[in-house]
C-alpha cells in the first residue's frame, strides 16, 4: 500500500494501478492467445472479464497470477514485474473439486495456506476457525471435501485464498458449476467480503448478469486472438441487491450493451 501511495504522489491525478498489463502478448504453441493487452486495475477495484468461450479470459487471469509469463510486453503488480506467483495474489479456481486436497479436512485445507506463509502451528487453529466462520462454514472444520456440497467446497477454497491475506483475488468462473440459488448467495458474500477487506478483484465469468452485478467495471474480450473489445463502467449503487440492482435501468442498459457485444463477437 505504501508503494502505491508513493506512486500516487509522483504521478498526480492518475492513481497507480495495482495490476497493470502493458502491451502483454502471449503465444502458446505457435498460437497467439492474448494480443497486446493493456489494462490497469486500481487497488480495491472489482473488475469483471467476460467474453465468448475460448477468448482468452482465463489466460488473461493466469497472466495476472504469474502462472504464465507474457511472450512480449509486461504484467506488473504494484509496479514490479510479475515473474512468478506471489503470496499477495490468491486464485480461486473454477474446479474446486480438483483444487482442494482430498486427504485433508476443511481445516487442513485452510491450514495449507497458513503453513505456506510460515505461520506457527500454535496460532493456526484460531485463524482457521475465524476464516471458516467468515465464509459461512463454522462447524465443518473436520469434514473432508468429499463430504461437502459444491457450494461448500467453493466456500472452502475462498477461505484458503483469504488465508493468504491477498491484496488481489483472482477468480476464474468461480460459481460456474453451482446452481442458481447457491451462486446468488455466494455473489453477495464475495461482495461483502471484498468490501470488508478492500482487496482488488479480477473476476472472470461467462455470465453477463453476474459481471454487471458484481463489477465496478466490465471488460469484454474479443476472441482469436484475445483482445479488449468493450469496456463498461458500472455506476450502480453499492451495496448491490439481487432484486433492486438487477431491475435498475442502468443495469438493464449495460446488460443490453454487453449482450449485443457478445452476440456480435459470435458471428
Amino acid at each position: 500500500m505504501a508503494s502505491a501511495a508513493k506512486r500516487l504522489d509522483t504521478v498526480p491525478g492518475t492513481p497507480a494501478p495495482q495490476i497493470a498489463f502493458d502491451g502483454a502478448t502471449l503465444v502458446l504453441g505457435g498460437k497467439t492467445i492474448i494480443e497486446n493487452l493493456s489494462l490497469g486495475v486500481q487497488p480495491g477495484e472489482f473488475l469483471c472479464i467476460v467474453g465468448a468461450s475460448g477468448c482468452g479470459k482465463t489466460t488473461a487471469l493466469r497472466l495476472a497470477a504469474g502462472l504464465y509469463q507474457p511472450t512480449s510486453g509486461r504484467v506488473n503488480f504494484d509496479g514490479q514485474p510479475m515473474r512468478a506467483p506471489r503470496r499477495e495474489i490468491a486464485i480461486v479456481f473454477q474446479d474446486y473439486g480438483k483444487a482442494l486436497l482430498p486427504w485433508r479436512t476443511a481445516a487442513g485445507n485452510v491450514s495449507l495456506a497458513l503453513e505456506a506463509a510460515g505461520m506457527p502451528s500454535a496460532e493456526r487453529p484460531a485463524r482457521i476457525e475465524e476464516l471458516l466462520r467468515t465464509v459461512g462454514l463454522p462447524g465443518h472444520a473436520g469434514k473432508y471435501p468429499s463430504e461437502m456440497s459444491g457450494g461448500m467446497q467453493q466456500r472452502l477454497q475462498i477461505a484458503r485464498c483469504l488465508a493468504q491475506e491477498p491484496k488481489t483475488l483472482l477468480m476464474d468462473e468461480p460459481f460456474g458449476a453451482l446452481d442458481a440459488m447457491t451462486r446468488q448467495g455466494l455473489q453477495d458474500e464475495v461482495l461483502s467480503l471484498m468490501a470488508a477487506s478492500g482487496a482488488t478483484v479480477i473476476f472472470v465469468t461467462h455470465d453477463l448478469d453476474e459481471a454487471i452485478y458484481l463489477g465496478d467495471r466490465v471488460i469484454g474480450l474479443l476472441p482469436h486472438p484475445g483482445r479488449i473489445g468493450i469496456e463498461l463502467a458500472v455506476n450502480l449503487p453499492r451495496p448491490r441487491d439481487q432484486l433492486s440492482t438487477r431491475e435498475h435501468p442502468e443495469f438493464l442498459r449495460l446488460r443490453r450493451q454487453l449482450f449485443d457485444f457478445i452476440k456480435a463477437t459470435e458471428q
Binding site: R86, I89, E115, A116
Partner: protein, 254 residues
C-alpha cells in the same frame, strides 16, 4: 467364511483327499511326492523343533530389509524423476538398461563382493524391489492433478513442503499398490537366493529336505511359504483398504 469361500475350498480339498487315498492305496514311494497327511506331520515336526520358525525369521528379515531399502531408493528416484522431466530424460536410458537385468543374475557378483549371509541376500532383494517402486511412483507423481501443483505454486509452497504436503500424499495410494507388488517380489527373490546358494532361511530349508530325501518335509516348507505369501498379501490389502479406502482402487486403475 461365506458360502462362496466354502465352495472355493471344495475342489482343492477334494483333490487332496483323492491324492491321499491314491498315495495310501499304491503305497507311494517317491523322492518328490508325499501324501498330504505326511506333509502335515512333517510341518508339525518342523514347528516342534523350531527349525521352520528360525528359517522363517531369516527369510522374512532378509526380505523385509531388502524391501525397505529398495522402497526408499525406488521412491526417492521415482519421485525425483516424476517431478523433473529433465532428470527423467537424462536417466531414462540408464534405467531402462539396468532394469531388465534379472536380480538373480547379480548373485555371482554379490557373492564375491559380500559373501554368504544376510547382506548379500538383502542387496539382491533390494535391487529387485527398486524397479516396480521407481516406475510406479514416477507414474503416480506424473499423474497428480495439475491443478494441485498450481495451487502449490500460487501459495508459494517451498519445494520441500511441495513434495511432503502435496506430491507424496497425492501419489500415496498408487505408491502403496507398488509397495504391495514389491512385497511379493521380495519374498520370491529372498527364497530364490536361498535355494540357489545362500545357506539360510526357508529356501535353504527346502534344499536340505530335498538332499535328505524327505519329500514330506520339502513339501511342508512349500506349503508354509505359500501360507506366508498369502498372509502377507491379505495383510497389505487390509492395510490398503484401511488407509486409502476407495482412493486406492481409483488410484490403481487410473
Amino acid at each position: 467364511m461365506t458360502a462362496g469361500s466354502a465352495k472355493a475350498l471344495a475342489l482343492p480339498l477334494a483333490v487332496l483327499a483323492t491324492f491321499e487315498l491314491w498315495a495310501r492305496a499304491t503305497h507311494l514311494q517317491s523322492d518328490s511326492l508325499a501324501p498330504p497327511s505326511d506333509i502335515v506331520v512333517a510341518l508339525f515336526g518342523a514347528f516342534a523343533d523350531l527349525s521352520i520358525l528360525a528359517a522363517t525369521r531369516d527369510t522374512l528379515f532378509s526380505a523385509f530389509a531388502g524391501l525397505a531399502i529398495g522402497t526408499i531408493i525406488g521412491l526417492a528416484f521415482g519421485i525425483a524423476f516424476g517431478i523433473s522431466d529433465t532428470l527423467n530424460r537424462l536417466m531414462e536410458v540408464t534405467v531402462e538398461a539396468i532394469r531388465p537385468i534379472p536380480s538373480i543374475a547379480l548373485l555371482p557378483i554379490a557373492l564375491i563382493a559380500l559373501g554368504f549371509g544376510y547382506r548379500m541376500e538383502i542387496v539382491i532383494v533390494a535391487f529387485a524391489c527398486v524397479w516396480p517402486i521407481l516406475i510406479l511412483s514416477r507414474a503416480a507423481v506424473r499423474s497428480i492433478e495439475p491443478r494441485l501443483m498450481e495451487v502449490a505454486r500460487a501459495l508459494r509452497l517451498p519445494p520441500a513442503q511441495r513434495v511432503w504436503k502435496i506430491i507424496i500424499p497425492a501419489a500415496l495410494p498408487r505408491i502403496f499398490v507398488a509397495f504391495r507388488l514389491s512385497a511379493g517380489i521380495a519374498l520370491i527373490v529372498a527364497v530364490t537366493v536361498e535355494i540357489a546358494i545362500n545357506p539360510l532361511g526357508l529356501g535353504a530349508g527346502i534344499m536340505l529336505a530335498q538332499q535328505a530325501l524327505r519329500p514330506d518335509l520339502m513339501l511342508a516348507y512349500l506349503v508354509w511359504i505359500g501360507a506366508i505369501g498369502y498372509a502377507l498379501n491379505v495383510l497389505l490389502v487390509v492395510a490398503q483398504n484401511r488407509l486409502f479406502g476407495r482412493a486406492a482402487l481409483s488410484g490403481a486403475d487410473r
